[in-house]
């Protein structure tokens, strides 16, 4: 019964949301180029599955690449910050500035600098994911049980071994929660970067195209596809997290 409601509740939530949307558009007879009925949007996707699937794969790849690059940089930089208070204090203002500056403002410059194509997209996507991951790594590595660290000290474990065996696993809960934030951020980054990077595929490109040519069906179907992609990413994350963090009190309650 509990299990059933855990599966049914999210579905009911989604149904109510989209039902209300459908109803409101129908009731108030909203103009079709403003907002479409969910049924119309889903029909559009249903009619052109390969088109949306193909573009989704492009955007998914960009977002994932950007995230992975950000993760690698964050692990290195964060490890240094966790080791040295000075480095942390020196890095924090830079990180905060990166975080608060709207990516739209400098995205065109990034494209000018890095050229067209994948490179600026990964750069922009990575940069937008970097700061949350960086702070998560620093806080996570520091969250390790000090007594466990001392235990390893009593057998003269190397710093590397201590990071690998104690600090890194302790940072996983932090990394997962930052990664959850990054799903949305990476998709914003990828969609936006596609507009500027003059690529000819990807959901961002399709959205831009639909706006330019006033194709509200394609616009909304592309938006739904991005949303689906993000939702799927979160679901995958949940599964990985439950397997990997089964020991963590927080993970045991996440449904």
């Amino acid at each position: 019964m509990k299990r059933l409601s855990r599966l049914a509740a999210p579905l009911i939530g989604l149904l109510v949301f989209f039902g209300a949307w459908q109803l409101l558009v129908w009731l108030f007879d909203v103009h079709t180029f403003v907002i479409l009925k969910p049924s119309t949007i889903i029909t559009e996707m249903w009619d052109h599955p390969r088109f949306y699937w193909g573009n989704m794969l492009v955007t998914a790849k960009e977002a994932l690449l950007g995230y992975l690059v950000a993760l690698a940089v964050a692990l290195l930089w964060g490890a240094l910050m966790a080791r040295s208070r000075f480095l942390e204090q020196a890095s924090t203002p830079v990180a905060v500035l990166i975080q608060v500056t709207p990516i739209v403002a400098y995205a065109p410059s990034a494209v000018l600098w890095l050229g067209r194509g994948l490179r600026p997209i990964v750069f922009i996507t990575g940069l937008i994911c970097l700061v949350p991951l960086l702070f998560a790594v620093t806080a996570g590595l520091r969250s390790a049980d000090p007594a466990a660290l001392e235990l390893l000290e009593t057998v003269d474990a190397s710093p590397w071994e201590t990071v690998w065996k104690v600090r890194l696993p302790y940072s996983f809960p932090y990394l997962f929660s930052a990664t959850r934030t990054c799903v949305g951020l990476a998709l914003i980054g990828a969609v936006l970067a596609e507009w500027y990077a003059l690529v000819d595929r990807g959901l961002g490109r399709r959205i831009q195209e639909a706006i330019d040519f006033n194709q509200s069906r394609q616009l909304w179907a592309a938006i739904y596809t991005v949303a689906l992609l993000g939702g799927a990413a979160i679901l995958v994350l949940n599964v990985i997290e439950r397997r990997l963090l089964h020991w963590h009190p927080g993970a045991r309650t996440i449904s």
Partner: protein, 298 residues
């Protein structure tokens, strides 16, 4: 990956009498090796001379002396904040003295660390929550720069046997969050014993346990120590625990910490629960209690 099949005899800490242990089977060695049970274990002596340790404005220890003979079970007892944990941490090499000298087996604690000669049991079990009981018990024996070369750690089968011995045989694959506090602390004990270290350092390991579990743990620790020649330095708040376990009890006074009373415990070994009800036991407890009362300024 933990052991050389043929051990080099004589890998003993310098300056320590080599106590052979005839009663013990050498299951760690391959039967074809024609060596008789080598003197793998001998307790490590501890010597602390004139140590002063300050934390900011507070002086935890001042001109503190402590000498523990190889193979002895010595307990430090005293009021909270009397510096007993600090003394233990100095011996473990987890903190450095401001003045004075700390020696473990004739060398600095750091050398004992890299020689994997310290089995440390912290106050909280500090198990890694993502590791199973078995894997937690092996944490120390599989870690450290010299791991795999020291040949001193117990083979994994013996670690499992130790876990059986402390009653965790059915929980080898359980995770710490599935265990009670007492069970977690038992894993922490095995983790230290799995190193087969000649010096065991225990910092109030049973402090967080309820009274019943606590007295069970006492006998468990006695059982584990029997047949091993390891030196043990044990820190506790409990007088009964101190008398039951130790060869010697040192009562400490606080701020700055020093030793008020050095009381030998002449009770026969192996210790049994019945000894707790003897007059000798009671008299020892009383003496310690009086010394403790004297040590706390009222």
């Amino acid at each position: 990956m933990h052991h050389d099949p043929a051990p080099t005899p004589g890998r003993l800490p310098v300056g320590v009498p080599a106590a052979s242990r005839p009663g013990r089977t050498c299951s760690r060695y391959q039967p074809s090796v024609p060596v008789a049970c080598p003197p793998v274990k001998a307790g490590l002596g501890v010597e602390v001379r004139g140590v002063t340790k300050r934390f900011g404005p507070t002086t935890a220890l001042e001109r503190f002396d402590l000498a523990v003979d190889p193979g002895q079970f010595v307990t430090l007892i005293g009021p909270s904040g009397c510096g007993k944990s600090t003394a233990l941490r100095l011996v473990a090499g987890l903190t450095e003295a401001d003045e004075g000298r700390v020696e473990v087996g004739g060398g600095p604690p750091r050398a004992a660390q890299s020689g994997r000669q310290l089995g440390f049991v912290p106050q909280s079990p500090s198990l890694l929550p993502w590791r199973t009981v078995r894997s937690n018990a092996r944490l120390l024996s599989e870690s450290g720069r010299r791991s795999g070369r020291s040949g001193r750690d117990l083979p994994t089968t013996e670690v499992d046997a130790l876990l059986e011995e402390v009653g965790l045989g059915e929980f080898l694959d359980a995770y710490p969050h599935e265990l009670s506090g007492g069970m977690q602390q038992r894993v922490a004990l095995v983790r230290a014993f799995a190193l087969d270290a000649p010096l065991l350092l225990m910092d109030e390991p049973f402090a967080a346990l309820d009274e019943i579990t606590r007295s069970e743990m006492r006998y468990l620790l006695l059982r584990l120590c029997e047949g091993r020649d390891a030196t043990v330095v044990f820190v506790t708040h409990s007088i009964a625990e101190a008398v039951m376990l130790s060869d010697r009890v040192l009562v400490m006074t606080g701020r700055p910490g020093r030793i008020e009373l050095d009381e030998p415990i002449p009770l026969s070994r192996p210790r049994t629960p019945e000894q707790e009800e003897t007059t000798a036991f009671f008299e020892l407890e009383t003496r310690l209690r009086r010394a403790l009362r004297g040590s706390t300024p009222s």
